[in-house]
Symmetry: C2
Subunit: 166 residues, 2 copies
Amino acid sequence: MNRAVLIVSVIAITLLIACNNNKNQENMNEQNNNSLYPKGDKLSNEWFSGNAFLTPLIVKDKNNEFSAGSVTFEPGARTNWHTHPKGQVLLVIEGNGFYQEKGKSAQPIKKGDVINIPENTEHWHGATATTKMVHIAITNYKDDEQVTWLQAVTDDEFTEANKTTN
Amino acid sequence: MNRAVLIVSVIAITLLIACNNNKNQENMNEQNNNSLYPKGDKLSNEWFSGNAFLTPLIVKDKNNEFSAGSVTFEPGARTNWHTHPKGQVLLVIEGNGFYQEKGKSAQPIKKGDVINIPENTEHWHGATATTKMVHIAITNYKDDEQVTWLQAVTDDEFTEANKTTN
């Protein structure tokens, strides 16, 4: 009796471990397959707080009067306050973060959202304190300019934004 | 002995079924979560062969001299041959398909690829015969024009493209 129970138990435990490992491996593969673009190069802390990265996708050329890139914000990372002379479009492709215009509440943003940022509007965007966020940024040029960088988003401002839940 | 073996076996089988169901449910959730945008509305067979769909993302405005949308091609679906007066950028976000310029071999395209299509170049893009493809299209305007539609991609042309493997 003991031997039969032991054999069945060992087989059962082996199969359970195999099922669980297979699930974990699929989850890992899925996480690797989920990122549309590589993270790219770290962006300067002169213009970004925390760890943000850029993979360029399109440079301005005779047809495309914009540049486009994929920007990854690790938790806590965000742009400085800044403006664009001819606006910018954000396509959030992964995770959760915030977009905030000066004088307004922070707006939670998530995968699938499209944000059409007006010209000459002070704003910042980034991850939440606890989740990463990735967006494609399509940034229009006005002549040779596309951004004016301002001061960093303070920890107090960032904490305040993170209180926004809706 | 028989009862103990039976009980252990029933418990083991129950746990295995639970593990497998949980894995299947996660896979289903993952497939639903994988699409960045809803499929949208079916595109006219005047300009597309097969089943293609559009979710608009950005309309041309005072800053954005382009429109952008997410286009889903079911297996076998493709655009007609066409040109753009000021080019177009494709960001492939899901699946596998083809891009072909007149007089050149079809180029396989896949999730993560960026295609910068020149102005006034006859071309088509779509899914493969067996796999769907989804891309964001950023289509520049020249004055009020952004596309000139031509004839459909014939079945022979599409079959020829699908022979391309590299």
